[in-house]
């Protein structure tokens, strides 16, 4: 008999996807297939329409008016690299937090070697950054604050609107890494005063892997933005110089149109259900999980410990058992799939006090059910008691 699986690794990538996401990709592969923005025949135009509609939905989702300022790429990492390397120069100062993922830390570390000044502000053990701390860290040459909206380790949600306000007053660009949060909580770039937002398609937006990108607010001057890659765009083909207008400026080479067809369906799913409803369900699941884990002897839960202030991502450890061992037993004995270790975020684990062992992470999604939470809690209880 095939054992059923409980998938709790949605903070890495969401699974399963809504049926319509798979259907949209199959439809694209079978019926459209052509290269968007290249050639003028009907299938190329149809492929172009799909990419265009995905762009329109993204701009709608994050509250920007001009969808040409949405640039697609492989993932949030590509969007982050484009935003950082495209705008920051040697001698500039950038502020970030101690809860960042390596997708921000590694580009910044490399840029430090080339003369970029970086301040990494400490966060609380719950994973929060104080807006007042940001204010104090400004220097004359501060150009940007770059911040992970929601920790991929413990789900802690940063106070975006307050930090956005502090940045706007200072005339500093505010760059938000929304890899975990896009689709899981409402984000409005206007309201929260976000100037750049990196997103991924394959987590809470329910698209496939290989989709993501960067959204540029009005205050980002495209004339200052240096593309990380250049090449064919389907536009201005007579010129050997790269186009200077968006989105072509930051999109070279054939895009992942089949993936974007899936992302479009994922975005439509999220918008049809409504982010408020998604958030309510995920909060309910998170509360249930937190309650169960906090009541279990021998279990330590990290992060905010309340669903109000975090996403449906929960990190914990069982006393005396390494996270890797817990993860293996959850998989082999209970069919529960999660992620253990450092989650590509060593700085965050240092902040939480869980470096270098890491944690066991349950990453939930809108498509998880309460019964799965209860089963998982029972599994953790049994492992903690030394049963099974």
């Amino acid at each position: 008999m095939e054992k059923k699986i409980i998938y709790f690794d949605n903070a890495a990538t969401s699974y399963p996807k809504p049926e319509e996401v798979t259907e949209a990709m199959v439809h694209f592969s079978k019926e459209i297939g052509a290269s968007p923005g290249r050639s003028g025949h009907r299938l190329a135009v149809e492929a172009g329409r799909i990419v265009f509609e995905a762009r329109e939905r993204i701009s709608q989702l994050f509250g920007i008016k001009d969808s040409s300022r949405v640039v697609f790429g492989l993932n949030a990492t590509e969007g982050i690299n484009q935003g950082l390397k495209g705008l920051l120069r040697p001698g500039d100062h950038v502020i970030t937090s101690s809860m960042e993922h390596n997708s921000v830390m590694r580009p910044l570390r490399a840029m430090m070697n080339e003369g970029l000044e970086v301040s990494i502000l400490p966060c609380t053990r719950e994973g929060f950054l104080a807006p007042s701390g940001v204010k104090k860290a400004f220097r004359k040459n501060t150009k940007m604050v770059v911040l992970n909206h929601a920790s991929n380790v413990v789900g802690s949600l940063q106070p975006l609107a307050e930090i956005g306000e502090v940045c706007r007053r200072q005339g500093v660009l505010f760059f938000v890494d929304a890899a975990q949060s896009a689709g899981a909580v409402p984000i409005d770039m206007e309201r929260e005063k976000i100037d750049l937002l990196a997103f991924t398609g394959h987590k809470a937006l329910f698209g496939p892997q290989g989709t993501g990108g960067l959204v540029l607010g009005e205050r980002v001057d495209e004339k200052e933005l240096v593309p990380v890659k250049r090449g064919g765009t389907g536009s201005r083909s007579e010129q050997e110089e790269h186009p200077d207008f968006l989105p072509d400026l930051c999109e070279s080479g054939t895009p992942n149109a089949v993936g974007l067809a899936g992302l479009l369906a994922g975005l439509e799913f999220v918008m049809k259900v409504g982010i408020e409803k998604i958030r309510r369900h995920e909060k309910r699941l998170t509360e249930r999980l937190l309650r169960g884990l906090l009541q279990t002897a021998g279990v330590t839960v990290y992060g905010p410990g309340t669903a109000e202030r975090q996403l449906a991502t929960v990190s914990f450890n069982i006393q005396g058992i390494a996270p890797s061992e817990v993860g293996l037993r959850l998989d082999e004995e209970f069919g529960i799939l999660c992620r253990v270790g450092l989650h590509c975020a060593p700085a965050a684990h240092r902040t939480l006090g869980t470096f270098p062992e890491g944690t066991v992470r349950f990453g939930l999604s809108y498509l998880n059910r309460e019964e799965e939470i209860d089963e998982a809690i029972q599994a953790v209880v049994r492992i903690a008691r030394g049963e099974a």
Partner: protein
């Protein structure tokens, strides 16, 4: 009826224009850019030439970047 085309910097703007024409009820079709107008490999928007001014106003108001517009030789 005489036809003409509007050219755009890239397909993104051509597709925005298509959507706007649809919303405003202006007959239109995306076609490959005629070779005599540009060496570009993309598409442009064909409309009845009498609708040109109306269309250009709609596009300008919506912030759609336009390269140029040209009447097409009658067949």
């Amino acid at each position: 009826m005489p036809q003409g085309v509007i050219l755009f910097p890239s397909i993104h703007f051509a597709l925005r224009a298509e959507k706007l024409m649809k919303q405003k009820g202006i007959p239109h079709k995306l076609i490959p850019v005629p070779r005599h107008l540009s060496s570009d490999c993309g598409v442009c928007l064909r409309i009845p030439w009498e609708k040109k001014e109306e269309a250009l106003v709609i596009l300008a108001e919506a912030g759609v970047k336009v390269d140029s517009s040209h009447p097409l030789p009658e067949r």
